[in-house]
């Protein structure tokens, strides 16, 4: 756990070898989760023993963290070739990502499984996902501010909720889509929901739900229904 030889990487091909391992780890963590994804399965994908993996990463725990960091770095590297989206471009970017994700079930599954698993006790990826969501929410909030400024309206205080909701709906749709890809169109549904939320921020309207929901608190009555936690 502690004495992990880190960053030797003297030989040039080692770096590519490590990347192979990281991609393999992403695959099995995605398919089985972190807890149930054994090192041996990762190892045999790259024709190695599990001890070889541990030689490179020190521990399974450390491997997971590097897997997550690796993906973010790859994405950021690709992004750097473009401009950094802000304002309405960020929302378009999110919609486009949702459409693209429909062809990347493996990666989608890895993030869906690992992010939910991370809320369990002492999970090694917990702080990673905490920070990830914090960062993403901040970016979306900023995009709302820019968008409102362009429209010449003051950004309402609902932007925080809206930002969380946009990320939430994308994640939640992924789970439903992974369970039954024929039942949910990941791209179209994400686009619809994002439009709905953006519209509500820019031009709030009362609805038959909201009419009474405004004063809704942890009411004294009320059971839970089949959708207890959804």
């Amino acid at each position: 756990m502690s004495s992990t030889r880190r960053e030797p990487r003297s030989r040039p091909e080692t770096l590519e070898r490590r990347r192979e391992i990281l991609r393999a780890a992403m695959a099995t963590f995605g398919a089985k989760g972190y807890n149930k994804g054994p090192l041996t399965e990762i190892a045999e994908q790259v024709n190695m023993t599990h001890a070889g993996i541990l030689h490179h990463f020190g521990s399974k725990n450390q491997l997971l963290l590097e897997v997550l960091r690796y993906r973010d770095e790859s994405d950021v590297a690709e992004l750097a070739e473009q401009h950094i989206p802000d304002g309405v471009d960020l929302f378009r970017h999110l919609v486009r990502t949702a459409f693209l994700n429909a062809d990347r079930a493996g990666i989608v599954q890895a993030y869906a499984v690992l992010s939910a698993e991370s809320v369990t006790d002492d999970h090694p990826a917990r702080s990673f996902f905490e920070e990830r969501y914090r960062t993403l929410r901040t970016e979306v909030v900023e995009a709302f501010r820019v968008l409102c400024a362009e429209r010449g309206v003051e950004a309402p205080e609902t932007v925080e909720r809206a930002a969380a909701s946009i990320l939430a709906v994308m994640d939640g749709l992924q789970v439903q889509w992974l369970l039954d890809p024929t039942a949910v169109d990941l791209g179209e549904a994400s686009a619809f929901a994002i439009e709905a939320i953006v519209a509500q921020v820019l031009d709030p309207r009362a609805t038959p739900v909201g009419d009474t929901a405004a004063d809704e608190g942890p009411g004294a009555d009320a059971p839970t229904g089949q959708g207890a936690t959804t």
Copy 2:
């Protein structure tokens, strides 16, 4: 795995004993997930050995399925004392549930963790959650139809996407809220998002996102950005 003595339950107190076990199992599966939640931990919560648990449920696998069934039955039993919500009442019910869930982190976590874990290979709860989402989506679609009929408008074909989105946003917000309860207000954010989606179904409006998103497909360009999968 196969020959599990089921439903003997000769003595009256046995039924309550089983319920104790189910509640304890819900707690540890929620805290650690199914794969990492050991039977011994469930057992010691009810002052038993893990072999005692297996005597009642035959296998850990079977225990999980009964846990999930038990919760739904409890919820439905409570619901039966009320009316079955439909039309706009279902949406109000969902919002109310979100507020209530803010005080039930344990149950929320169990569903969040298990539903995401269920998408992994050969997970015992997979078909449970497939069916659960299918049922819930159908109910929400029906509520949209009733609501549209009340308003005298024709239900648009977006109701399917909207139904999936409403469930998705509730689930996704739960994950963010579990990771950092101070960053997200589960009830308020759920209410906001549900209102937004209902409003968009009843009265669709173009947005700066949708203006171009309509023709958005798996475009040839486009990387993924930090929010690769969200």
